[in-house]
């Protein structure tokens, strides 16, 4: 499945976190009640419009198992294989709170890119993107950008993260509210010896991920602890899935 996915541009919009994306998801799939449900699945052509599968809640509705789905992905990619170019852009979030939350959900570290302005961030992203799609790093960490003094200060105030310009690899806590720094790599965008600098950065990232040791997560214990601590996530768009129980009613 993971191998088959590498031929595709994989996107996981976070449902209920962006109004425009919510509308896009609704245009792809509406449940029986006509509202946006928690998950939406579809395979699309490069134009983002042509549907290569039916849209639905999950690939499980259309494929018997992961192997069957992987086989479909392999076959569906054939017409595009000859012309397909290498993926280059960094798969980066632009909201730190959301990125830490997603990292916590996936039990995965988050590489926080910090820069004083958009120009410096563009250089940093370009450099980090080379690492991101390399065999050592693809699919092993999430990325998020934090731009400007105000945003860097907010990272400290809201998440306890002290950021300096460059890449900071962090391990989110169980709820993704705070994070522990595993590694900081500064000056990536400024280094002249690109190849050797990136090679050193790559090795340091691999080593730092060795310190990433999230605990296994029990769903029930996690929900119980969230209730106990009064931790709640407020989504940008109201949760509309008719199958989602009211949390308070389950206390």
């Amino acid at each position: 499945m993971v191998t088959a996915s590498r031929n595709y541009i994989c996107v996981r919009p976070q449902t209920y976190e962006d109004k425009a994306e919510a509308e896009l998801l609704l245009s792809l799939y509406r449940g029986r009640d006509g509202v946006l449900e928690n998950t939406v699945f579809c395979v699309l052509g490069p134009d983002g419009k042509q549907r290569l599968t039916k849209a639905g809640r999950s690939p499980m509705q259309q494929f018997s198992d992961a192997e069957a789905f992987a086989a479909f992905l392999g076959k569906a990619f054939v017409p595009y294989a000859e012309e397909a170019k290498a993926v280059q852009s960094l798969p980066v979030h632009d909201d730190l709170a959301l990125a830490l939350n997603v990292g916590a959900c996936d039990l995965m570290p988050v590489a926080v890119l910090a820069a004083e302005d958009d120009k410096a961030m563009a250089k940093l992203e370009e450099r980090v993107a080379v690492l991101a799609w390399s065999a050592e790093h693809v699919g092993r960490q999430h990325y998020v950008r934090v731009v400007g003094e105000q945003a860097i200060a907010a990272a400290k105030a809201e998440h306890g993260l002290v950021l300096e310009a460059g890449l900071t690899l962090v391990e989110p806590d169980a709820f993704g509210l705070t994070a522990e720094v595993l590694l900081h790599l500064g000056g990536l965008e400024k280094r002249k010896a690109r190849t050797s600098a990136l090679k050193a950065a790559s090795a340091a990232l691999v080593e730092a991920r060795g310190d990433h040791s999230p605990e296994a997560k029990s769903r029930r214990a996690h929900l119980r602890e969230a209730r106990k601590q009064g931790i709640e996530w407020e989504s940008e768009v109201p949760v509309s899935d008719p199958n989602t129980p009211d949390r308070k009613s389950n206390d």
Binding site: M1, V2, R6, N7, Y8, I9, C10, V11, R12, P13, Q14, E17, E21, L24, N38, T39, V40, F41, V43, P46, G48, R57, P59, D65, A66, F69, L73, F77, A84, K85, Q88, S89, P91, V102, A104, D106, L107, M108, W133, R140, P172, D173, A174, G176, L177, S213, E215, A216, K217, R219, R220, L223, A226, R227, E232, W233, V239, P245, R247, N250
Partner: protein, 86 residues
């Protein structure tokens, strides 16, 4: 059946299903194992996962540039309002 040992496209919908099941049933007492209940543990993986773009606009632009098809799977990073779990 341990369903959370692999990060895959099949994990998020399963996680959602478990989210609904676990909240509907309420937490079990210590040592209790409900008949037919799924193990609800998400374990860290050392294996590489799918490399997800987090935003549609970025993904669509890269798909158009590269001529690659798009695999879309949205998911909510919360379960009944609790962050940190699909």
């Amino acid at each position: 059946m341990q369903v959370f040992t692999r990060r895959s496209l099949f994990a998020a919908p399963l996680a959602l299903a478990l989210c609904l099941v676990s909240t509907a049933q309420g937490p079990p007492e210590r040592g209790e194992r409900q008949k037919g209940a799924q193990v609800d543990v998400l374990e860290p993986s050392l294996e590489a996962s799918i490399a997800w773009y987090g935003r549609w606009d970025d993904a669509q632009a890269e798909a158009e540039r590269t001529g690659r098809p798009i695999l879309l799977m949205s998911a909510a990073p919360q379960c009944t309002g609790a962050p940190g779990i699909w």
